[in-house]
């Protein structure tokens, strides 16, 4: 009963936030529209990571592999159709990029997901670096030369606003997917894997297939986001999509907001992006130090993230009453 009511409250709040976010560019200065793009992109990436990392407890350190594959495979497919209308190119790129991510993730999933904990995390970092190096050094990928992307915007609309709205659609779709997964049998199966994989198997959870499915879903979303991101930049090289800071941030968003929750990565992404781009925007020399300090404080002071901290505070208040 209360569960249903709180779920309804959350749905209403999310829809209101979605409408507010969609209208925000009307009042925001162009700089903040760009920051907003980055917040939405990061939140969606964080959510995609959380489908495997937050729900099933498999922390990938290599999400950038799929961002890169999505962007480069999609971009190369689009280049084949250089004469077609940009919107059609984009759709073809989307199909090619996500298909490549799905196939590669499915091939990697079974061997890599046999590893647990730190070994999985580091193996994924290795995977991301292998793809990055290959992308950069094999000529057909044009990783070091760079790849240009057509402007797919709508005439008359500021491209920054257009990409903002596109990222918003992507982020909302990711949130919806994560929410549907979280409340499904599949989602509960993933949670049980995070809690105790052997016991989950004993209860009949097909752990291998579930992990692989979560891995593929997470990879495909990352790939789609990578392609949109590439379009928003207009021109990318290996270094613009295969980034170690993306690998790290995908985790930090959940860690900062709350591991395993849906709101966690969104809050985490918003705070981190605003902090580094707005608050510290003028202190570039200070970025790395600030991020590092944030990580240290986070691990020591709020190991269960801001959502966990808030729950704890609310819980304490209730007890006092």
């Amino acid at each position: 009963m209360t569960r249903q009511r709180s779920e309804r409250t959350w749905i209403c709040l999310s829809l209101a936030a979605l409408v507010a976010a969609a209208l925000a560019p009307l009042v925001l200065a162009p700089f903040y529209v760009r920051v907003g793009q980055l917040v939405l992109y990061s939140a969606a990436l964080g959510l995609a990571w959380a489908i495997l990392g937050g729900f099933a407890g498999y922390w990938s350190f290599g999400q950038s592999a799929f961002i890169g594959i999505g962007a480069f495979v999609g971009g190369l497919a689009e280049a084949e159709l250089a004469t077609a209308p940009p919107a059609l190119q984009f759709l073809v790129g989307l199909a090619a990029g996500s298909a490549a991510c799905a196939v590669i993730a499915a091939l990697l999933a079974y061997p890599v997901l046999r590893l647990r904990g730190i070994y999985f995390a580091i193996a994924m970092l290795g995977v991301a670096h292998v793809f990055a190096e290959l992308n950069n050094n094999i000529d057909i990928f044009q990783g070091s030369l760079g790849l240009t992307f057509p402007n797919i915007g709508i005439a008359g609309l500021d491209p920054h606003v257009f990409y903002y709205e596109l990222f918003l659609v992507a982020a909302a779709a990711t949130l919806l997917a994560a929410w549907l997964i979280r409340r499904s049998r599949f989602g509960y199966g993933l949670l049980s894997i995070r809690e105790d994989e052997d016991t989950a198997r004993m209860l009949g959870v097909p752990t291998e297939h579930y992990k692989a499915a979560a891995f593929v879903v997470s990879a495909v979303i990352a790939g789609v986001l990578g392609l949109i991101y590439a379009h928003s930049l207009g021109y990318i090289t290996t270094g613009s999509v295969y980034r170690d800071d993306t690998n790290l941030n995908a985790i930090v968003y959940s860690l900062l907001g709350g591991m395993g929750t849906l709101i966690g990565p969104i809050i985490g992404a918003a705070i981190l992006v605003v902090l580094t781009h707005v608050v510290l925007g003028d202190f570039l020399d200070f970025h790395m130090f600030a991020t590092g300090l944030l990580l240290v404080l986070l691990v020591l002071l709020a190991p269960s993230g801001l959502v966990g901290l808030a729950r704890k505070l609310v819980g304490r208040k209730k007890v006092r009453r």
């Binding site: 049998r185 509960y188 199966g189 949670l191 049980s192 809690e195 105790d196 052997d198 016991t199 989950a200 198997r201 004993m202 209860l203 009949g204 959870v205 097909p206 752990t207």
Partner: protein, 250 residues
């Protein structure tokens, strides 16, 4: 007893490198009873459970669940056929509530039509955990965890429940409660295979007892038959341990 046993173990052998853990064991568990597997430490009881649930592969021999050979199947497939296992050391999903623990078991476990919430509620009532439904499992006492472990196994809607020392470390009151729960589970039509060291509990609750020693089956029968078997007395009950068994027989 029926001619349609729920579990048949035929000439099963398990070797770990050089060590012979299970040596040519055969046994048949009829439907609807509580059968116990007893024997000194290291007799191979837990290994046998691991083999039945597909947690470890058999070296030789066959295991039939009903008519179906199950040796070599993946653990989750065996669970889907209707075999559940409750661990000796409870392994709850600590961050999840008691209700969610049971709900997950209800969602998976034996395949087929299901009503997850009803199953979870029944398991909750059976284990007497209804008031604790929304408590995180990590915050419960050892006795409560043991009952949750049994309840979660039951929530998978098994036909055969393997319970690994459910009474170990419990005080007499808690043991009595657990024995009551086991009887209720049997009454609902589930067959139970029990590994237990508490002889009083075993003798009280079992319909059939198998005795393992050093990886071999040395006896089987009703509790009375087994306790009077000289080989069992020599191998197991003859050690300074038999006090509880004697008092149970009295």
């Amino acid at each position: 007893m029926s001619d349609d046993p729920i579990l048949r173990i035929e000439h099963v052998t398990k070797r770990f490198r050089g060590l012979l853990a299970i040596n040519d064991v055969s046994l048949v568990v009829p439907r609807g009873i509580i059968a116990s597997l007893i024997g000194p430490n290291g007799a191979g009881k837990s290994t046998l459970f691991n083999l039945i649930t597909g947690y470890a592969p058999v070296t030789a021999g066959a295991i039939f669940y009903g008519e179906r050979p199950i040796a070599g199947l993946a653990t989750h497939r065996i669970a889907a056929l209707g075999i559940a296992r409750a661990f000796q050391i409870a392994r709850p999903f600590r961050d999840l509530s008691v209700a969610d623990n049971l709900r997950i078991a209800g969602m998976f476990g034996k395949s087929g039509a299901r009503d997850v919430d009803a199953t979870a509620r029944r398991a909750l009532d059976l284990a007497g955990l209804a008031e604790l439904a929304e408590t995180p499992a990590g915050a419960m006492t050892v006795g409560q965890l043991r009952r949750l472990e049994i309840a979660r196994a039951v929530a998978t809607r098994p036909e055969l429940l393997l319970a690994d020392e459910p009474c170990a470390g419990l005080n007499p009151t808690e043991t009595a409660e657990l024995v009551g729960i086991l009887r209720e589970i049997r009454a609902s039509g589930v067959t139970i295979l029990l590994v237990e060291h508490d002889m009083a509990a075993v003798m009280e609750v079992s319909d059939l007892v198998f005795v393992l020693d050093a990886g071999s089956k040395i006896a089987e029968g009703t509790p009375a038959q087994v306790t009077s078997d000289p080989r069992v007395v020599a191998a197991y009950l003859g050690t300074p341990e038999p006090a509880p068994a004697a008092s149970a027989g009295a």
